[in-house]
Symmetry: C2
Subunit: 236 residues, 2 copies
């Protein structure tokens, strides 16, 4: 990492970016399976050792930003305060992943197509998604440590957030990166928040045992009713 | 499959079971990586071709029942009627997986430990879990086809059901298969149903626009309030 930073400091495009660009050029021209690490380093004009300094394997060059994004997500969650509403916080953490995809739509769409075609990359992606999900779940488990069924809630909400994020992300990728990815993701995450946003964090002090009355049309969608209750309870 | 059935019909233990038993004996004695397919077939007293008739690879012998369970799940979901509450139906489908694990606690616990130790098996398991999740999501997408954000709801609920199921299943496996797995899974799935059980399926006829009043303590957990609303609305 330090050599990459030093290189970036000189204003030259980092070698790591050159390797990713060469790899994708070859993957698109010849196919993923038909491209070797030797082909990639030859095109990038560097040695094999330079490749393996940045990427443990050929699969890793397909997902060059996930390690950084996972680290960013972990930092973001660690930096939170106990006042943060936990479900909202993990939704914001998921938005960091979206931002990484949205920063470079062309690359993201190319990678999406490649991943759909190569079963090995699909498996790799599942393991990356799993690591994001565990990072979110670990945060929620800490926040819900004092709750009954805290680990259950944490795991379920983390999975729901990841699924909502990926539903919106994949729609955007299938549309070739047209339109605003963030609007679709916001809407997807709002659905998860409407279902789980009211998971109570153990209160710092006893709550008064007063009564809440909600009046609703029978035909109203449940999420609207829940939203109304949350607002009334001051948890929204 | 037909040869296996014929063999079972004669009362002999099927060759497939013998291969699984031999494989696990060796995995436990020597470790997974140190065991070859040749070692397994030698211990089981059969030829290599018999192994590959049942299992495409060494990894597949670790999860011998998932293909059957996936097929059972798909059949179960296809056999449902339009009157089934969709979230309850996918919860029941998830219980089929639990039953497979609970049928043979010793084997399930051994496999769990093995999977924790071998990264390749962990990746294989993620891909299996993903297939279960997609089977549940495909069913929900059909059921929610006429709903706004139907695919989003389907994907999120499928992920939540799988996460809840796996949270309870893994607790049970970590406790060495002690106690009733089904009670923990029922409780975990009830949590998902309390969050999503009220996802409205497009009604066959107009609902009357009458008013529902819910009175609740301010300190009551949201899921209890939602459960109460669902019961009142007749969606529980």
């Amino acid at each position: 990492m330090s050599s990459e930073k030093a290189e970036a400091g000189t204003g030259k495009p980092p070698m790591r970016d050159a390797l990713v660009a060469a790899a994708f050029q070859l993957f698109l021209e010849r196919g993923y399976e038909q491209t070797t690490v030797d082909d990639i380093v030859a095109l990038a004009g560097v040695g094999r050792r330079s490749f393996f300094r940045y990427f443990p394997s050929k699969e890793d060059v397909v997902f060059p930003d996930h390690e950084r994004c996972l680290a960013d997500m972990t930092d973001f969650l660690a930096d939170g305060s106990d006042d943060d509403e936990p479900v909202g916080r993990v939704c914001d953490a998921a938005r960091l992943v979206l931002r990484m995809y949205a920063e470079n739509p062309t690359f993201s769409v190319q990678r999406y197509r490649l991943t759909q075609q190569v079963p090995g990359l699909r498996a790799y992606e599942l393991s990356v998604v799993w690591r994001y999900e565990r990072a979110l779940a670990a945060y929620l488990r800490r926040r819900f440590a004092a709750c009954r069924d805290g680990t259950l809630r944490a795991d379920v909400i983390a999975a729901a957030v990841v699924a909502a994020h990926n539903n919106a992300l994949r729609s955007w990728l299938r549309s070739d990166g047209q339109g605003e990815a963030s609007a679709a993701v916001d809407r997807a995450l709002a659905y998860v928040q409407s279902a789980f946003g009211g998971v109570p964090v153990p209160p710092a002090m006893e709550q008064p045992e007063d009564v809440v009355v909600v009046v609703s049309r029978r035909g109203a969608p449940l999420w609207r009713v829940v939203q109304e209750i949350e607002t009334t309870l001051g948890r929204g």
